[in-house]
């Protein structure tokens, strides 16, 4: 259930359909994922899931796969 919600928030942040969200989407290779979008994604995840990330975790969110792993760490 958490994973579905994370995917939904990620899709909303990047304004793409959920079907287009996959593990290989990465900060370095996905053009829409720049520093401002990264902070928007972080803020949306924090607000919608009621969590607050450590700075090291924000820096480590280098792909959708990593985002999911880090968010799940806060939710479980």
């Amino acid at each position: 259930m958490h994973e579905e919600k994370i995917k939904k928030i990620f899709a909303q942040a990047f304004e793409i359909p959920e079907e287009e969200v996959h593990d290989d989407i990465a900060y370095n290779s996905y053009q829409p994922w720049d520093s401002l979008k990264h902070l928007q994604l972080v803020s949306m995840l924090e607000e919608e899931l009621g969590i607050e990330f450590e700075m090291d975790d924000i820096i480590d969110m280098s792909s959708y796969k990593k985002v999911r792993e880090i968010v799940l760490k806060y939710l479980t």
Partner: protein, 136 residues
């Protein structure tokens, strides 16, 4: 600068450019968390006192990003958006200071930051020069 008589400077530069329209939909009411991850209260007070807050927010974001990039290649420390405050100084232009409480007096004494910010109707751009004074 008296303390830097026996130090040598390491220079680093950073640059960033963003479209102003990306900040036009951002408001204090609906994007408070995002804004507070990027800007200090002083910066928000200044930007939202302007007729066009998006332009001021965008310029400050670019300046902070340029400074973060410059620090990143210096490899001395990790610095985040809210560790930096961009002060508006009339005529002399904007000035950047480090306000993060985790930085030691010694570190702050070794760092100098120079920035420049420019806008068109569509975009803002900023470059930053960071000087870190190392021991000889």
């Amino acid at each position: 600068m008296l303390n830097n008589n026996f130090r040598i400077p390491k220079f680093s530069i950073g640059i960033d450019m963003e479209l102003i329209e990306r900040f036009e939909k951002i408001s204090l009411e609906s994007h408070s968390n995002l804004l507070r991850r990027i800007f200090t209260q002083n910066e928000l007070d200044y930007c939202f006192s302007k007729i066009d807050p998006a332009q001021s927010l965008c310029g400050r974001f670019c300046a902070k990003e340029a400074i973060i990039k410059a620090f990143s290649s210096l490899d001395q420390t990790v610095i985040s958006f809210t560790d930096i405050e961009i002060l508006h100084v009339d005529k002399k232009g904007p000035k950047a200071i480090i306000i993060g409480k985790q930085f030691s007096t010694d570190f702050l004494d070794r760092v100098e930051i120079k920035i420049s910010i420019s806008h068109t109707a569509q975009a803002a751009v900023s470059n930053a020069l960071v000087v870190y004074w190392c021991d000889m």
